[in-house]
Structure formats: C-alpha cells, structure tokens
C-alpha cells in the first residue's frame, strides 16, 4: 500500500530563521529547543551554586560564604534543579520528540505550548528577581513553616509567586501532551504500539496534573500566612499539614522526573542492542504502577515527625512496593541487552551508566522506606546521597543519554564520538566521587543543610573527596557543552537515521521540516522503522 503524502511539498511555507521568528514560534521543535536552552542554562546556574556549596563544606568551619548566603544558595540550588531544570528539561524532549514519535504535525495546542515555555522563563525570572530586592529565599526548597512564615524580607514571596507561574506552565504543558498523545497518533499506532518514551511522557503529564495543584494550594496558604495573618500552618494551624501537602506533590515529582528518564533509556537500549525491548507491556505496566504508587507514599518523607504507627507502616510498605516495578524495568533493560549485539555509541554508554547508578539510588531507597533506619539517616547526608543518585542520575545520565541520542535529529549533525565517550567517563567518575562519600557522611552523623561543621574525624576527608568530585563533574558537563557547540558546525552530517533506530522521528529528515513528515510509513508494531528495514530486506531477497 502506498502511503499518502501528508503535506504536498510545494505548499510548504518558506522557513524563517531570524531572531523574531524564535520569539514568536509555535513550532513544537523550536519550542523544544528553546526549552532545552533555557533549562540547560538553569542547570548551569544550579550547578554553579552546587560548587559554592561544595567549596564551603570542603573544610571544617568554612568561611567561603556567610550562613545566610549559604541558606539562600542551597535553597535556590534545589529549587532551580527541581523546578527549572529536571522537570522542564523533560518538557524540552517531550516537545521535540513526542509529536515526531507519534507521527504528528505538531502538538495539539501549539500556542498553548508557546505559552508554557514563556511562563517557564517568567517563573524562573520572578524567583531569581528576589535577589535584586535584597533577599533570596532561604528556607530550603521544601520551605517548611513556621520557618518559611517567619523568614524576613520577600524572598519567600517571590519564590511562591515564581512557583505558581511554573506550576501553570507545567500544567498547561501536561494537558497539551495528553491531548496530543491521545488524539494525534499516526494511523495504525495503537496505544500498544506507542514508543515507550511517549508512554512515559503520558504518565509524566498525568502525574503533573495530579500533583502540582496540591502544591499550588499549599503555597497559596503559605503566602496568606506570611502576608495576611491567616494561620493555616502556624499558631493554631498545623505545620505538619503543610508537609503532607508538600510531599503529596513532592514525591510524585520524583517520578515526574524519573519516568521520562526511564523512557529515554527504554528507547536507547533496544536500538543499540539491536533487539526489540524485552517485555514492552511489562514496562508499560511498571510505569503505570510507579505512577500510581508515587501518589500514596508521600509520608515516607515525614517519618521523623512522629506519625501514628499504622500510618508509618502503610507508608513504609507502599514505599518499598515501588522497588518491585522499578526492579522490573531494570531487569527488562538488561533482558534487552542479553544476547544482543551492543554498539557502544555514546547514548548506550550513558544508558548503561544510568542503570547502574539508578540501581544504587533505588537500593538506598529501601533503607529510607524501612523507617527505623530512616529515623537515623533522614535529614542527613545519606539522604542527600540517595536523592542525587535518583534525581541527579536522571538528568546527568538519562537526559544526557537522550541528548546524545537525539542531537543528530535536532541539529542534523553528529556529536564527536570520542569526546562524547570521554565526557561520559569524566561525568561517571565525578558523579560517584561527589555523591558516594555522602552516604558515609550521613551514616557518621553529618546533617544536611548545615552551613559549617566543626572538625570531626572523617568528615573533612569525605567532604574534600566530594568537593573534588564536583569539579570533575563540572569538567564533564563542560565537555558535553563544548561538544554540542562544536558539532553544530563541525559535526558529521547525520542523515535521517544515523542509529538504525526504531521510531518514527528517524523517518523524517534531520532536522525535520516545519511540517515534520512528507509521508508516514505504516505502523504495525512499536518499531515501525525496524519493520520497514526488514520489509526492505525481504524485498531485496525476493527481487533477485
């Protein structure tokens, strides 16, 4: 059967490339690239703040910054990384890739899509503008009252308003993804043939819709407590209520970040193992299970508040239950590699590194779910280590894996392979040097969020290893940045499908034209391009 042309080539409007065309664009690919540039800028900003934190803690009684400044820096490090980098960077890839993967012309609501992006930028700018008015937010990214109600100046108010804007941005984006995925798939692409990254963006969006409105409610109450004399969380109100609301949002947020990362790995591993993904349905069910369980485990952030025994028990059991679908994903990825023919192109290296690091983060999570242990290690550097192995390995290894994988599609050029492989190893060593010693620091009693510490046996050495590691990590990030910039001009021309990949985005040109596809191949499985290749092989044989 011949495939119908979606858009006659003659009717395509001339592509505009000027500066103004970027400001006014509603093309999902350009919006995706704008998202990517802005979120990577915030990543560098958050990373610089992390370096200040590491310098301050390098020695006992550090004096690099004052305690006040330190508090602002770690607050904005966390806020920036969570709200301005790891969540919206998924929207960057989602924007660019999802319409292409499902064979669509654009997102369902292109103008709404542009609005989501500009709100992200304004939200971030609002938050950071507090520093221009004399006081940054200084209560940690969790902003627990009563401390956050008492915090002087308007740093927290800017923070709250900025987060409101970011929430609206994410919610609009999530609605857009869901509408796009449900209404705009190519003919033949049933839900059971949908690429796994798109599946993960579906659950990312559902979780955002469930979680962020609750955060917005809590933040509104906090704003009223601070400025209009209400007492939702202070005096006769309840500080614990805020924690319940915050973590009802906060834990799903972890999976909002992790699921698209899982999706990227699920795209990369089969392509570079030259096999179909092992257990496609099991992986989708596992993602669904994680998304559901993510909403019923928030209390494990609150064991030290003294919840009742049955509530503690529920949150412990529900939390460790997440290990099961997470394990299924890992086993299926390794199952895909098993007996494969693995090509070590950079995306695959990042994917294998990610699986290993995420396993460490997942296993240290069991310590935190079994709450007597949590009562010792929560709010210590053990937790800092744990969530960087989870929330940090996703952006550094899964997202950079995704970047190395899709960069040729986005730019039409290949990244330098040698430099990419070197940058992986530098990042891998730097990441482990930075975060692994933090487990030991927490176990030996170092609390998180302390601006200084007294001389203590062992603490200084481990902090120094972590500080050195953070600089190694930074070198790795710079290497990736240099590679991306250099390859724009000097990279080898990629062609439509440099990886012999499986999904529809590789069917069109690199970069794709504004209308994405001139025509679409038939979709008979979750690997339409692999089907196309095997059809061609059969034709070649029978044609002899």
């Amino acid at each position: 059967m011949a495939t119908a042309a979606i858009t006659p080539a003659g009717n395509v409007p001339a592509t505009r490339t000027g500066f103004r065309s970027w400001l006014t664009t509603v093309d999902h690919k350009r919006i995706g690239i704008l998202y990517l540039l802005v979120t990577l800028f915030f990543f560098l900003t958050g990373g610089l703040m992390a370096l200040v934190i590491r310098l301050q803690l390098e020695t006992a009684n550090g004096t690099v910054v004052s305690p006040d400044r330190y508090d602002q820096i770690f607050t904005m490090h966390g806020t920036t990384m969570v709200f301005l980098f790891v969540v919206p960077v998924m929207a960057a890839f989602g924007n660019y890739i999802v319409p292409l993967q499902i064979g669509a012309r654009d997102m369902a609501f292109p103008k709404l899509n542009a609005a989501s992006f500009w709100l992200l930028l304004f939200g971030g700018a609002t938050m950071y503008s507090s520093f221009l008015f004399g006081s940054g937010p200084d209560t940690g990214w969790t902003a627990y009252p009563p401390l956050s109600v008492q915090s002087p100046g308007h740093g927290i108010d800017f923070w709250i308003v900025g987060l409101h804007i970011l929430s609206i941005s994410s919610i609009l984006g999530a609605i857009n993804f869901i509408c796009t995925i449900h209404n705009m798939r190519a003919p033949g692409m049933r839900l059971t043939r949908m690429p796994l990254f798109t599946w993960c963006m579906e659950f990312y969006s559902i979780m955002i819709l469930g979680a962020l409105p609750v955060l917005s409610g809590a933040l509104t109450m906090l704003l009223l407590d601070r400025n209009y004399g209400t007492h939702f969380f202070t005096a006769s109100g309840s500080p614990i209520l805020y924690q319940h609301l915050f973590w009802f949002f906060g834990h799903p947020e972890v999976y909002v970040v992790a699921l698209p990362g899982f999706g990227m790995i699920s795209e990369i591993v089969p392509v570079f193992s030259r096999k179909p993904i092992f257990g496609y349905r099991a992986l989708v069910y596992a993602v669904a299970a994680i998304a559901f369980l993510g909403f019923v485990v928030w209390g494990h952030h609150m064991f030290a508040t003294g919840l009742s025994a049955p509530v503690d028990a529920w949150f412990a059991l529900a939390s460790i239950a997440i290990a099961v679908p997470t394990g299924i994903k890992i086993f299926n990825w390794i199952g895909t590699m098993w007996m494969g023919r693995i090509r070590y192109e950079p995306p695959m290296l990042f994917a294998v590194g990610f699986i290993l690091l995420f396993m460490i983060g997942g296993l240290s999570g069991i310590f935190l779910a079994l709450y007597p242990i949590d009562l010792q290690v929560t709010d210590s550097y053990f937790v800092v280590a744990h969530f960087h192995y989870v929330m940090g390995s996703v952006p550094v290894f899964a997202v950079l894996g995704g970047l190395h994988y899709w960069y040729p599609k986005m730019t039409g050029r290949m990244l330098d392979r040698g430099l990419a492989i070197w940058s992986f190893w530098v990042l891998f060593v730097g990441f482990n040097m930075t975060f692994f010693p933090m487990h030991a620091l927490g176990l030996s009693g170092m609390p998180r969020r302390i601006a200084t510490y007294q001389a203590h046996p062992g603490w200084e050495l481990m902090n120094q290893i972590a500080t050195l590691g953070s600089f190694v990590l930074s070198v790795g990030v710079l290497m990736v940045a240099v590679n991306c910039l250099r390859s724009l001009r000097y990279g080898r021309i990629a062609g439509n499908d440099p990886w012999q990949a499986n999904t529809l985005e590789w069917y069109t040109t690199s970069p794709p034209p504004p209308h994405n596809f001139d025509d679409l191949p038939p979709v008979r499985s979750e690997r339409p391009l692999a089907d196309l290749r095997s059809d061609a092989a059969i034709l070649a044989v029978s044609g002899d």
Binding site: S66, P67, D68, D71, Y144, P146, L147, A235, P239, S273, K275, P276, F278, Y280, R281, A304, T305, G306, L317, I320, A321, V324, G327, I328, I330, F331, N332, G335, M337, W338, M339, G340, R341, R343, V352, I355, L356, M359, I360, L363, S364, I366, F367, L370, Y371, P372, I373, L375, Q376, D379, A440, L443, S444, G445, P447, R448, R449, A451, T452, G458
Partner: protein
C-alpha cells in the same frame, strides 16, 4: 569513629535495634547490587559488538512471561522478609521502657533547654546530664520553628514542633559524652544548634543533682 559503611557505634537499645535492621538491609542490598549489577556489567561486556567482526542478527526475543513473573515475585519475597524483620524489631525502637526518667526539652533557635522532673536544669548550654543504664523519656516542644533532636549513638531522630509535644527516649549503656545536633533546618544558626549528652554513673548523677551548680 565508626566504619564508613555503618552507623556510629550504637549505645542505646533503640539505636542498637536500628543498627541491626540497618545491617540486615545492607547485607541484602549489597548482595542484590552485586548480583544485578554484575549481570548488567556482564551483559554489557559479553554482548558488545567488536569492530572488524560480522555478526548474525541477534535473536529478536520480545519477552518472557515466566521471567517477568519470576522477577516480580522474588523481589516481593525479599521485601516481605525485610519488612517482617523491621516490624519484629520495631518495638525495641519505639517503645519507651517502664520507669523512665522524664525530662522536658524546649528547643528554640538555636539551643536546647532541658528540665528535670524537679524543675531543675543541667548546667551548661544545650547540655543534658543523665545517669547510665537508665531509660530517659524526653517530652519535647519548640518555642519557634521545627527542630529535630538527634544524637546518633543514642537512637532515632524526632522532630520538635511548636504546637504539639513529641517524644523520644534513650538508655545509654556507657558512660561518656555523646554529641548530636538539630537535624531539621531551622535558620541561619542551624549548624550551631548542637546537643551534648553527658552520661555519668548513677552515684555521680545523685551527687550532681544535689549540687547547687544546676539551677
């Protein structure tokens, strides 16, 4: 100083119970990491494509229901085992022994005030003096924001709130000074909000309480 892979030397029954759960979980998780991580690294190396060789297409296996069921059930069993052990040990962590000495604790930015049943306070800022081998029950409240009482060798953390009383306990089995500090971020002075628990012999404690040094 403790080893880098374990909690600091526990000196109270609750800390010891947590330590035993910790060691069980450490043993299981390290084993899982070695097995699964080993499987990953083995697969990653064993099945790599080497340059200059030609390979047949790998088997296009799409999954295996038996394996999926297997690697769902085995982790469930392991987790059930770990949970059961945790709940078995839980009373030793949470239950306050009978006949404990009651001490009231007031936390504020950035220090701790301890009050004995007779209304006296120990001498020295943020210092608690208690007898050895005696269960101590702490009734804690905050004057301002949320704090957290944590002396690692003497057991679990407990948050301290302004609007409700929370409780924790310990029973030190060795004489000495135990250092701890506030473990819930409470403002710019958070890092300086330390706790010192001095555990003395029972005789020494009796004479300490008789002194005028404590107000």
């Amino acid at each position: 100083m403790a080893g880098t892979a374990t909690l600091n030397q526990p000196e109270s029954p609750n800390a010891q119970a947590i330590d035993s759960i910790y060691r069980a979980v450490l043993g299981v998780t390290v084993t899982i990491f070695v097995l699964v991580g080993g499987w990953l690294v083995y697969s990653a190396i064993r099945f790599r494509e080497r340059p200059g060789r030609t390979y047949p297409d790998p088997p296009q296996v799409r999954g295996s229901t038996q394996l999926e069921i297997g690697w769902t059930i085995v982790p469930v069993l392991i987790l059930v085992g770990l949970s059961a052990f945790t709940f078995y040990k839980l009373p030793q962590v949470k239950d306050v022994p009978k006949g404990a000495m009651e001490v009231n604790v007031l936390a504020q930015q950035y220090g701790w005030t301890f009050t004995y049943p007779d209304g006296k306070h120990p001498a020295g800022a943020s210092t608690l003096v208690v007898p050895v081998d005696t269960p101590i029950h702490l009734n804690m409240r905050s004057k301002d924001v949320i704090h957290d009482f944590w002396v690692e060798q003497l057991g679990q953390k407990q948050d301290v709130f302004p609007n409700k009383t929370t409780h924790t306990w310990f029973e030190a089995h060795a004489v000495g000074t135990y250092q701890g500090q506030c473990a819930e971020f409470c403002g710019p002075g958070h890092a300086t909000m330390t706790i010192s628990v001095q555990v003395v012999s029972k005789e020494e404690f009796r004479s300490y309480m008789a002194q005028k040094a404590i107000s």
